[in-house]
């Protein structure tokens, strides 16, 4: 059973002075996320990532369509007991200390009084805030607030996590720790749904990703399929660039006496023959893989109709 099911979810905002103008923030789309998956939600600024997550959290209401989390409709308050949510640019009651805030949230989540204090220490440590537990949130830096946000999201040990740009504001070490945290959550069998602009992180962490552009879903797929073989090989050799080689090359880059060229896979044999004839020593030969970045750019830059969407 999918953990998150989005069925034709659509969101239109009424804007303007008299709420007459309509802004299609999200066109109807369908998507399923399965148990134990780390799912990346990608797309440029204004694509509709935050809107989708807010719809799923019940903070704004869909204009059409529906969604279910763990089999319960998103309007059902029971579902919230199993969710953890990190909003974009989180902001908290700044008169509280980190520990007081987490205590409040623990009570709201219905956690039992017994294990609360221990669990709070545990999550504070996990996000690297154990030294600032008694500091008022007013005095926290942006990245520290982001860490508090993470702490409150995992506090009650939820089954599904929604993280809106969890990496934003974190220092390099913090990002690394967050990657580890997401991997740990996955190992615990949690489902993690997160939006991000950092494609390298998405590539390293996600089982599957979806690409959203201007409110439309452009593609969904397993990361290993999307970044598969590109059908090209990269050759590096020493010396010059022979004339016979030029028609084959898709890309060239010369630095010092090293020449780097990319040729179609089919032309690999011919290119090597040319190098042998010119007695230019081959340094390396590697198949080129598409990066998630290339896939992302293709989906978000082309004006072509979105590719067939499968969940």
């Amino acid at each position: 059973m999918p953990v998150i099911e989005i069925l034709g979810l659509e969101k239109t905002y009424a804007t303007g002075l008299f709420r007459k103008q309509r802004k299609h923030a999200l066109h109807a789309f369908t998507l399923e996320v399965y148990e134990g998956e780390v799912f990346g939600f990608l797309g440029p600024n204004g694509a509709g990532k935050t809107t989708t997550i807010k719809l799923l959290m019940g903070l704004v209401f869909p204009s059409a369509g529906s969604a279910r989390i763990l089999g319960l409709s998103i309007g059902d308050p029971r579902v919230h007991a199993y969710l953890g949510f990190l909003p974009e640019q989180p902001y908290f009651y700044d008169h509280l200390t980190a520990r007081e805030l987490l205590e409040y949230y623990a009570q709201l989540s219905g956690m039992e009084a017994k294990g609360r204090a221990r669990r709070i220490c545990e999550v504070l440590q996990r996000v690297g805030l154990d030294g600032s537990a008694e500091t008022a949130l007013r005095k926290f830096s942006k990245g520290m607030l982001q860490r508090v946000g993470l702490a409150q999201a995992i506090l009650h040990n939820p089954r599904v996590l929604f993280l809106d740009e969890p990496m934003s504001g974190l220092d390099p070490l913090g990002r690394r720790e967050l990657r580890l945290l997401i991997e740990e959550l996955k190992a615990e069998g949690k489902t993690v749904f997160f939006s991000t602009h950092l494609l390298a992180d998405a590539e390293a962490l996600c089982d599957r990703v979806a690409v959203l552009h201007a409110g439309r879903l452009r593609g969904v797929g397993a990361v290993c399929d999307l970044i598969g073989d590109a059908g090209r090989v990269e050759l590096v050799w020493r010396g010059r660039n022979p004339v016979a080689m030029r028609p084959l090359l898709l890309e060239t880059h010369i630095s010092g006496e090293l020449v780097r060229g990319v040729v179609p896979e089919a032309a690999q044999e011919e290119a090597m023959k040319i190098l042998r004839c010119a007695s230019l020593p081959l340094v390396s030969l590697t198949p080129v893989r598409t990066s998630l970045e290339e896939y992302y750019l293709r989906q978000t830059q082309s004006e072509a109709p979105p590719q067939e969407v499968r969940a």
Binding site: Y13, L59, P77, H80, P90, Y104, Y105, S109
Partner: protein, 256 residues
């Protein structure tokens, strides 16, 4: 349970906001006024202190009710602190109810302390306990009931408008509430649908005319127990209806 958790945190926030220190300001003011009055007037000290005191309780109370009422709720919407609250197993009505209970508690303690300050000032100008002091406390209780209604209105407005607008609206209704009876009489004196509409409007706004007992109390008059009952029932009913409206408005509200 959830409601109480929210109420407690609301109270704590108000306390850390130093809103609860306004009674201290009030006490200093009252003592100063009492000493001053004690020196210049003969015989009417009590009247002056009671009138002044009740006016001050109302003034400070309304300010706290509106600041806290709009500040806490509309601010939570504006600053998005609500996102991480409403994504937990907290229903929207529980949030509104919790906020209200916390605010009401804040106002009650605030008003109670000011009432005690007023009694202390009275003791200073007329030593010895007087039975009429009890009526002063009832007058303070009536003010508290008014504050409860204003606080409910502030909560209602803050579910659909900005903190500033919500404050302006609630203050306007507080002022109108003091003239509700006069407005209703004027409206009822005419006929036609405009007048009927106006009469309807005066029933929507709070009617504080029966709550202002300062003048009588200052002259040492007593307050009928029926009036106490009537005012209590009216305030509870009115506040309950306003809160229902606030819950409905909040259920529909999108948190953008």
């Amino acid at each position: 349970m959830t409601v109480l958790t929210i109420a407690r945190s609301t109270f704590r926030e108000a306390a850390r906001d130093r809103v609860l220190y306004s009674p201290a300001v009030f006490a200093v003011l009252m003592t100063g006024a009492a000493i001053l009055v004690g020196q210049v007037s003969i015989g009417i000290e009590r009247q002056v202190v009671i009138n002044l005191g009740l006016a001050a309780v109302t003034f400070f109370g309304v300010i706290v009710a509106i600041l806290v009422g709009t500040g806490l709720v509309a601010k939570e919407i504006q600053k998005r602190t609500l996102y991480t609250v409403l994504s937990r197993p907290v229903e929207r009505w529980q949030f509104v109810a919790g906020k209200f209970v916390g605010l009401a508690g804040t106002l009650a303690i605030n008003g109670g302390l000011m009432g005690l300050g007023l009694l202390a000032a009275l003791r200073y100008v007329s030593p010895g306990f007087s039975g009429a002091d009890a009526w002063v406390l009832v007058a303070v209780y009536f003010i508290l009931l008014q504050l409860l209604m204003v606080c409910g209105l502030a909560l209602l407005f803050s579910t659909f408008s900005s903190p500033l607008l919500a404050g302006v609206f609630s203050f306007a209704l507080f002022v109108l509430g003091n003239f509700a009876q006069e407005l209703r009489d004027v409206a009822q004196s005419g006929a036609g649908w405009v007048h009927r509409l106006m009469v309807g409007a005066t029933y929507l706004m709070p009617n504080f005319s029966a709550f202002n007992v300062a003048a009588g109390v200052a002259h040492g008059e007593s307050i009928a127990s029926l009036l106490i009952l009537h005012n209590s029932i009216y305030a509870v009913t009115y506040t309950g209806m306003v809160l229902c409206a606030a819950v409905l408005a909040f259920e529909w509200r999108e948190l953008q």
